[in-house]
């Protein structure tokens, strides 16, 4: 074993195999051991990574003439050495068969749904019509934050949420309601830091008011089950449920200053 690992070809193969396992399985399974969420990488990305690794290995073995010659030697021997005839002939059969198998897998018909790309946060329009009145989205603030008692707004928002939203978005606001499994795309989790935490309240208001049917074209396919809540709820009910969403998850809405400031902040 040690003999093979001292040889550049053995080392190259080892590096390649280790890289493959790390990329294909390591990325998926190692972070969870440390308590981090992870997911497998797509095959196309895996292929790109492996090509990069392969090129790196070739650069390294061909970096000086002696190592390059040593690297090639075993392959060369298999091709020319009369003593390796059996191995040579087996490879001559095995490699074409593997190629045929790979080709078959790539050309055989598969039953699959069309790939759909979908914008999770479709860009909001400058203005929109809410229950017949045109609202300018820029600068639209939650009026309840500057009037009445926040505790009452929260309680009212909770009522609205439990009467209307809990079925899909769940008691935990994690998108795991008892109807969530019936819908594709899945209902949004408000607990994630990349949903309502990255939005100004006006955008959340627009998404709730217009729902799936009000998504702009880049939000297609139109199978979001989110109703257009302007048909069911009053303006104040929507603003109060927005307060509930942020309070309950401990998220803070972005402000228009942050939105506009962005890169210019000192």
């Amino acid at each position: 074993m040690g003999k093979y690992l001292k040889h550049p070809l053995g080392q190259a193969v080892l590096v390649f195999v280790v890289a493959y396992f790390l990329l294909d399985f390591g990325i998926e399974y190692i972070p969870p051991l440390l308590g981090w969420a992870s997911a497998p990488i797509p095959n196309s990305v895996l292929l790109q990574y492996l090509i990069t690794v392969g090129v790196g290995i070739l650069l390294w073995v061909s970096d000086n003439d002696a190592r390059w010659a040593e690297f090639k030697a075993p392959m060369h021997r298999v091709m020319v050495d009369p003593g390796q005839k059996t191995l040579r002939n087996s490879l001559m059969v095995l490699v074409p068969v593997l190629v045929a198998f790979a080709t078959f897998n790539s050309v055989r018909p598969s039953v699959s749904a069309p790939t759909t790309l979908r914008a999770i946060h479709p860009s909001a329009p400058g203005q929109f019509v809410f229950q017949g009145a045109t609202l300018q989205l820029a600068g639209l603030e939650n009026p309840l934050r500057s009037q009445g008692s926040m505790e009452e707004h929260y309680e009212e928002g909770k009522r609205v949420y439990y009467e209307n939203c809990v079925g899909c978005h769940g008691d935990g606001l994690d998108g795991q309601g008892h109807y969530a499994h019936g819908f594709n795309p899945a209902p949004l989790s408000f607990q994630d830091d990349n949903t309502i935490a990255t939005l100004v309240e006006a955008v959340v208001f627009w998404r709730i008011a217009k729902g799936g049917p009000g998504l702009p074209n880049e939000g297609a396919p139109w199978n979001s089950a989110m109703p257009a809540w302007e048909d069911f709820l009053t303006q104040d009910e929507i603003w109060s449920v927005i307060i509930f969403l942020y309070e309950q998850t401990g998220n803070e809405p972005r402000t228009f200053e942050e939105e506009a400031g962005g890169g210019e902040a000192e």
Binding site: P109, V111, E151, Y154, A220
Partner: protein
């Protein structure tokens, strides 16, 4: 001076917290109460009676903690649950109900405090009396004899009276079942869907519930039958194994695509009970309440359908199967229907007596195959994209073809000339088979294409559960994929690739050998 500064800071922080309208917990608040009010009261109510704002949109209703009546326990029938029992339900939730699992949402401290707080709603829990779990023993091994014994016990103990002959919750008593407290209708469990069993679907869970009973429901304990010597412990395990065997080994994964199998040589199934269907793979599509268009519906009977599809290049056949305890309308279920309507409907507008309502099934496709990603709205399409519908109902022969551009705009052709249907109801299951030519002369029909994913959605109604119109179960878009005959190129390309690789290999080896022979001479010459 030194002492005054922390004081001033504390005042400053308190003022800041007030100014920010901070609603979160203050020091000194009971963690159990804070957690309960924040996460549980929405359904169970601040006072624990199960009357939170969400309660009336749920059936079964949320638990009333003041009664200390817990269904899922490890303790004897009628006994209080252990702390671990309560904790287990908080962690895992109650599958098949609206109670979610909180395992990943609450910390251990919060859950522990919550258990104490839940107990404090009832005077029945006292520190002196600690409920003791029963001894359940270990599961026996399962084999064909055990299952036969279990089936015999299922008959002998008359489980079928509620759960039905094949376990679909369609027994003769099932329309009359109510819970002990509110007298609300309660469904006999559908034993073919163990992933929806309230207290877990594995054989140990089933066995445990047979011994403890489900307090507050019509499900009795079987423990006294063992005490009385009517059955022994192995027979109870056999019964548990038999009940477990009524469900699939694994809960059905949700498949996005229903494969329409190509029947190249054999004829398409000619009836709904044709044995040819046994060999056609089936896909499970979950259905949920229609909660988008008013009046909404929060108590759908149909929670999923099994779909099979086949075609022969000329016609397509689609068979849909689902659990439904009866063939509506059925006078036996009239009381059930009126109590469900009175419980679930008033919130959504005045209940209307529509007279007898049938069971229905609707299959929906887009009228035009979508280009790119723009599909019609999944609920009956929209203004710019219409949908094509197949509609069947239990009180009418035949099926209708129709078109819609949104809920309530359905227009059906007077006769579904191109669509035939065959339906059967037996042992709590509907099976409905539609057959249609792939391509018809009718302009108003969708032409089915092969080798492409055709969007498909399903809707189902149980008439005697008070369902009709917008009150029913819906799915979002799935896909029907009608297979094509495997083209010969699928075999030609690999063969070509193999040949080319082989020739290339020979070329490389030959040239290497040639160079070796020539080069070898050169080497030997220089060596000399």
């Amino acid at each position: 001076m030194m002492a005054a500064r922390p004081m001033a800071l504390a005042v400053l922080f308190a003022a800041a917290a007030l100014a920010a309208g901070d609603l979160s917990a203050q020091d000194g608040d009971d963690l159990g109460e804070v957690t309960y009010v924040r996460w549980c009261a929405g359904c169970h109510g601040v006072d624990g009676t199960g009357n939170g704002p969400g309660a009336e949109y749920m059936l079964p209703r949320p638990r009333d903690f003041t009664l200390a009546l817990y269904q899922i326990r490890t303790t004897a029938n009628g006994a209080l649950p252990t702390d671990d029992d309560i904790l287990a339900i908080i962690d895992r939730g109650m599958p098949g109900t609206t109670m979610p699992g909180w395992e990943n949402l609450l910390s251990d401290d919060e859950k522990e405090a919550l258990v104490e707080y839940l107990k404090s709603f009832s005077r029945f829990f006292t520190p002196d009396e600690v409920p003791q779990p029963l001894d359940f023993g270990g599961a026996t091994r399962v084999n064909a004899d055990v299952l036969a014994e279990g089936e015999a016990q299922y008959q002998a103990l008359e489980c079928w009276r509620c759960h039905g002959n094949e376990g679909r919750g369609d027994g003769e008593s099932s329309p009359t079942l109510t819970d002990d407290v509110l007298d609300f209708p309660i469904r006999a469990a559908d034993l073919t869907e163990n992933w929806l069993f309230n207290g877990g679907g594995e054989v140990e869970d089933i066995h445990r519930r047979m011994l403890t009973g489900l307090d507050g429901t019509p499900m009795p304990t079987q423990a006294d039958l063992i005490t009385a010597g009517i059955i022994d412990e192995d027979q109870l395990w056999a019964l548990a194994h038999y009940v477990r065997s009524l469900s699939p080994d694994d809960p059905p994964g949700i498949t996005e695509v229903v494969r329409g199998v190509l029947f190249e040589d054999a004829p398409l199934p000619s009836s709904v009970n044709d044995e040819a269907w046994l060999d056609v793979e089936r896909a499970y599509l979950p259905l949920v309440g229609q909660i988008i268009v008013s009046p909404r519906w929060f108590d759908p009977r149909v929670d999923g359908v099994w779909v099979q599809a086949a075609h022969d290049g000329e016609s397509v056949a689609v068979r849909v199967s689902w659990s439904d305890p009866n063939n509506s309308p059925d006078p036996e279920w009239a009381d059930w229907k009126s109590s469900i309507i009175s419980l679930m409907q008033p919130k959504e507008g005045d209940p209307q007596d529509e007279g007898p309502t049938p069971d229905q099934l609707m299959v929906q496709f887009p009228m035009q195959m979508p280009e790119g990603m723009e599909m019609p709205f999944f609920l009956r399409g929209d203004d710019s994209r219409s949908v094509y519908l197949w509609q069947w109902q239990s009180d009418r022969d035949g099926a209708l073809e129709g078109e819609a551009r949104g809920f309530g705009t359905e227009a059906f052709q007077s006769e579904g000339e191109n669509l035939t249907v065959d339906a059967s109801h037996a042992d709590g299951e509907w099976q409905v088979m539609f057959t249609r030519r792939l391509v018809t002369d009718d302009e108003a029909d969708l032409d089915f294409v092969t080798g492409e994913a055709i969007p498909m959605a399903l809707f189902a109604w149980d008439g005697d559960n008070g369902e009709s119109g917008t009150r029913g179960a819906v799915s979002s878009w799935y896909f029907l994929f009608l297979e094509e005959a495997t083209p010969t190129t699928v075999y030609v390309y690999p063969a070509l690739a193999m040949l080319l690789t082989f020739l290339l290999g020979i070329l490389v080896v030959r040239s290497a050998q040639k160079r070796e022979r020539e080069g070898g001479e050169v080497v030997s010459e220089t060596a000399i």
